[in-house]
C-alpha cells in the first residue's frame, strides 16, 4: 500500500521535474541562433568562398599558361574536353590553340584532367552554381573566338607558371553572362554529345 502510494506520487513529481527540464531546454533553443545557412541570398559570404580549397567544382582554364599538350583531353575518361591546336600562319614555329572547350554538363568532376597538367592551367574552382537555361551554355569556350587563336605557353625552367588565382577567370566569365542568356552557336563543334 505504502509503496504504491509512493509510486503514485513519485510519478507526479517525475512529471513535474521532466516537464520543467524539457521546457527549459526547448525555450533555451528558442533564444539561440538557428544554425541554418540561408542559401542562396542571405549568407554572410558567398557560399562558394566558404568551401574547402580542394573542392572540385567547375573547371577553369588559364589560357595564358596552357602549353597545348593535350594531356587533359587524353586523361578525360568521358571526353569532356576538346582541344584543337594549329600552327600560327605568320610564324610556323609557334603553335596556337584554336579551341579549348570544356563541357561542364558532362563533367563528373573526377579531377583526372587536373593531375597531368604540367603548368596547372586547368584547375577545379570552388564555383558550383552552374544552372543554365540551355545545356549548351554549359560548354565553356576558353578560346572565345576560333579566329583569334591563343599562342601556347612555353615553360621556363626553374620558374613556376604565372597562373591567375584559381576561380578568378571563371567568376569573371560567369558574371558576364546570365543563366538565361542564349548559348553561343558551337562553331567549331564542341565535345561530342552522347
Amino acid at each position: 500500500m505504502a509503496e504504491s502510494v509512493r509510486a503514485y506520487f513519485g510519478h507526479i513529481t517525475e512529471v513535474v521535474k521532466t516537464f520543467w527540464e524539457g521546457l527549459t531546454v526547448t525555450l533555451s533553443y528558442m533564444a539561440r541562433r538557428p544554425i541554418t545557412v540561408q542559401y542562396p541570398d542571405r549568407t554572410e559570404k558567398r557560399v562558394a568562398d566558404t568551401l574547402p580549397s580542394r573542392y572540385r567544382g567547375l573547371l577553369e582554364v588559364d589560357m595564358a599558361v596552357c602549353t597545348g599538350c593535350l594531356a587533359c583531353e587524353r586523361a578525360c575518361p568521358i571526353s569532356v574536353i576538346k582541344i584543337t591546336t594549329d600552327k600560327d600562319p605568320t610564324n610556323p614555329k609557334q603553335r596556337v590553340i584554336a579551341q579549348f572547350d570544356v563541357d561542364e554538363s558532362k563533367c563528373m568532376f573526377c579531377g583526372l584532367c587536373v593531375e597531368p597538367c604540367p603548368t596547372g592551367a586547368i584547375q577545379h574552382t570552388r564555383e558550383f552554381e552552374s544552372t543554365m537555361k540551355s545545356i549548351d551554355s554549359l560548354v565553356f569556350r576558353w578560346v572565345p573566338d576560333p579566329e583569334k587563336p591563343v599562342p601556347v605557353y612555353r615553360p621556363v625552367k626553374g620558374q613556376d607558371a604565372p597562373r591567375a588565382p584559381v576561380g578568378e577567370l571563371l567568376r569573371k566569365r560567369m558574371a558576364q553572362t546570365s543563366w538565361i542568356s542564349p548559348p553561343s552557336i558551337l562553331v567549331p563543334e564542341g565535345p561530342k554529345k552522347e
Binding site: Y8, V25, T26, M30, A31, R32, R33
Partner: protein
C-alpha cells in the same frame, strides 16, 4: 528578351520588397485589427433593445413594432457571425505561421521566412493552395457523411465564440449557462472526427476517429469538474460573471485564489489540450501510426477546414482558460463601476468607454496569445503519449485530482475567511513569480552550458 523578362518577374513581391512589407503589415496587423474593431463596434450592440433605440434615434423607424424586426435582428446576428467566423479563420492561419516559426527556432532552424516579410504570408499561400486542390472523395466512402463531417467540426469550433468574451462588453451573448454551454458545444468537434473516421471507410481513419471519441469522452470528465472550480468561486455559470468576480491583478485571479484552483487550472489546461487533440495528445492523427488519422482521406478545402479547426481551437482553449482562471479581460485597478460611469447615458457610449474597451480587449488578447504560445511550446517539447498512458493519465490522475480540487474548493469557500484568501493570493503570486525567475535562470543555464552558445535572436 521578352522571355527573360517573364522569367525574372516570377514574383511581384521579390521585385518590390517594400510591397512585400506593406502586404505583410496589412495581413499581420490590419486584418486582425479590423476584425477586433468590427467586433468592438458590433458585439456590444447585439441586443434587440439597443437596435430598437438606434433605429428610432437615427432612422425614425419604430423597429420594435415593425413586422420586419426579426429580419433585422437576424441580419445583425449574421454580421456578428461573419466577424466571428473570419476571426477564427485568420487566427487559425496566423497561428500556423507562429507555430512553424517557433518550432523552427526550437529545433535550431528557421521555418518559413520567404513569403512576405518574415515569411508571414506563408499561411495565406497555404490557404490558397488548399482551396485550389482537388477535393477527392474515396469511391467506397459514405458520400454524404464524408462531405458533412468537416462542418460538424467547424460548428463545434465556432459555437463557443458566442459566449467567449473578448472584452468588457465585446461578447456576442452573455449566457447565464456559459460554462455549461461551452463544454457542451466543444464536444461537437469530436462528432466531426468520429463521423469523418467512419465515413472514410479506411482503417487509419476509423482508428483515428475511435481514438478521438474515446479521448474526448474520457477527458470531458476532468475538464468539466475542473471548470466547476471557478464556477464555484464565482457563484455563476456566466463567463462574464466569472470574469467580473476576478480582478485585474494576478493575486485576484482565480488561479491564485486557492491552491486547489491552481491544480484545477493545470488539470483544465491539460484536459483541454487532450480535447482539442493537441500534442502530446494528438493520438487521433498520430502520423507515425495512422498516417493522418481521421483526416487521412481528406484533401483540398475539407482538409483545410479540419486543419483550421485544429489550430483555431487553440484560441478557444486558451481563451477559456484565461477567462475562467487568469482574470479574463480585467484591467488592473479598474473596477466595474469605472466602465459604468465612462459609458454615459447616450445611445453611443463616450470615447473613454471605447478606450477602456480597447484596453480590456488588449489585456485578454495578450494573455490568450501567451497561453497559445505555451501550447505551441509544449507541442515541440513533449513526445506523443501512448493510448494506455493517455487513459492512465486521465482516469488515475486527472479525474481524482479534479474531484479533490472540487471538494477542497468547496471547503475553502466555507471555511477560509476573506483576509486569508487575499494573503493566499499574494503568496501564490509571489511563489509563481519566483518559479518563473527560477525557470528563466534554468533556461539561461542551459544556454551557458554549451560552450560558444549565447542568447542570440538574429538569423531570421
Amino acid at each position: 528578351m521578352k522571355i527573360s523578362l517573364a522569367l525574372d518577374s516570377t514574383s511581384l513581391t521579390r521585385r518590390y520588397p517594400r510591397l512585400a512589407v506593406l502586404v505583410t503589415l496589412f495581413m499581420a496587423f490590419g486584418l486582425p485589427l479590423g476584425l477586433y474593431v468590427a467586433a468592438l463596434a458590433v458585439f456590444p450592440f447585439n441586443r434587440p433593445e439597443l437596435l430598437n433605440a438606434a433605429a428610432k434615434e437615427w432612422l425614425g423607424w419604430e423597429l420594435a413594432a415593425s413586422p420586419y424586426r426579426n429580419l433585422v435582428y437576424t441580419g445583425f446576428l449574421l454580421l456578428v457571425a461573419f466577424i466571428a467566423v473570419n476571426y477564427t479563420a485568420v487566427f487559425g492561419g496566423v497561428s500556423t505561421w507562429v507555430e512553424r516559426r517557433v518550432a523552427g527556432r526550437m529545433q535550431s532552424r528557421i521555418g518559413p521566412n520567404r513569403t512576405g516579410a518574415a515569411g508571414f504570408l506563408a499561411w495565406v499561400a497555404d490557404a490558397v493552395k488548399m482551396v485550389l486542390k482537388e477535393d477527392t472523395i474515396p469511391a467506397s466512402a459514405d458520400n454524404l457523411l464524408f462531405r458533412a463531417a468537416p462542418y460538424f467540426s467547424m460548428v463545434g469550433l465556432l459555437l463557443p465564440f458566442v459566449v467567449l468574451p473578448f472584452g468588457e462588453s465585446t461578447v456576442v451573448a452573455d449566457m447565464n449557462v456559459g460554462v455549461f454551454y461551452v463544454t457542451a458545444v466543444t464536444a461537437f468537434v469530436v462528432v466531426g472526427i468520429l463521423v469523418s473516421g467512419w465515413a472514410s471507410n479506411s482503417k487509419w481513419a476509423l482508428f483515428g476517429g475511435i481514438r478521438g471519441a474515446a479521448q474526448v469522452l474520457s477527458y470531458e470528465i476532468p475538464a468539466g469538474i475542473s471548470l466547476m472550480v471557478p464556477v464555484l468561486m464565482a457563484g455563476t455559470l456566466s463567463l462574464q460573471g466569472i470574469v467580473r468576480a476576478q480582478g485585474g491583478c494576478p493575486w485576484e485571479w482565480f488561479v491564485f485564489q486557492n491552491p486547489a484552483a491552481t491544480v484545477a487550472f493545470i488539470i483544465a489546461v491539460t484536459s483541454s489540450l487532450a480535447e482539442g487533440n493537441r500534442t502530446p495528445f494528438d493520438l487521433p492523427e498520430a502520423e507515425s501510426e495512422l498516417v493522418a488519422g481521421y483526416h487521412a482521406e481528406y484533401s483540398g478545402f475539407r482538409l483545410a477546414i479540419f486543419l483550421m479547426v485544429e489550430w483555431a481551437n487553440m484560441w478557444i482553449m486558451a481563451g477559456l482558460a484565461v477567462t475562467l482562471f487568469l482574470g479574463g479581460w480585467q484591467i488592473p485597478f479598474v473596477s466595474h463601476a469605472v466602465y459604468e460611469s465612462a459609458r454615459g447615458s447616450g445611445l453611443v457610449p463616450a470615447p473613454t468607454w471605447f478606450l477602456l474597451q480597447v484596453a480590456s480587449m488588449l489585456v485578454f488578447i495578450v494573455k490568450t496569445w501567451a497561453l497559445v504560445f505555451f501550447f505551441i511550446w509544449l507541442r515541440w517539447t513533449l513526445p506523443r503519449v501512448r493510448v494506455d498512458q493517455l487513459m492512465t493519465l486521465c482516469w488515475k490522475y486527472l479525474v481524482p485530482g479534479a474531484f479533490l480540487c472540487f471538494i477542497v474548493t468547496l471547503l475553502w469557500l466555507l471555511v477560509v475567511p476573506p483576509m486569508a484568501v487575499k494573503i493566499t493570493g499574494i503568496l501564490l503570486t509571489v511563489f509563481a513569480a519566483a518559479l518563473l525567475v527560477k525557470f528563466l535562470r534554468d533556461t539561461r543555464r542551459n544556454i551557458d552550458r554549451v560552450k560558444g552558445d549565447r542568447v542570440d535572436l538574429s538569423n531570421w
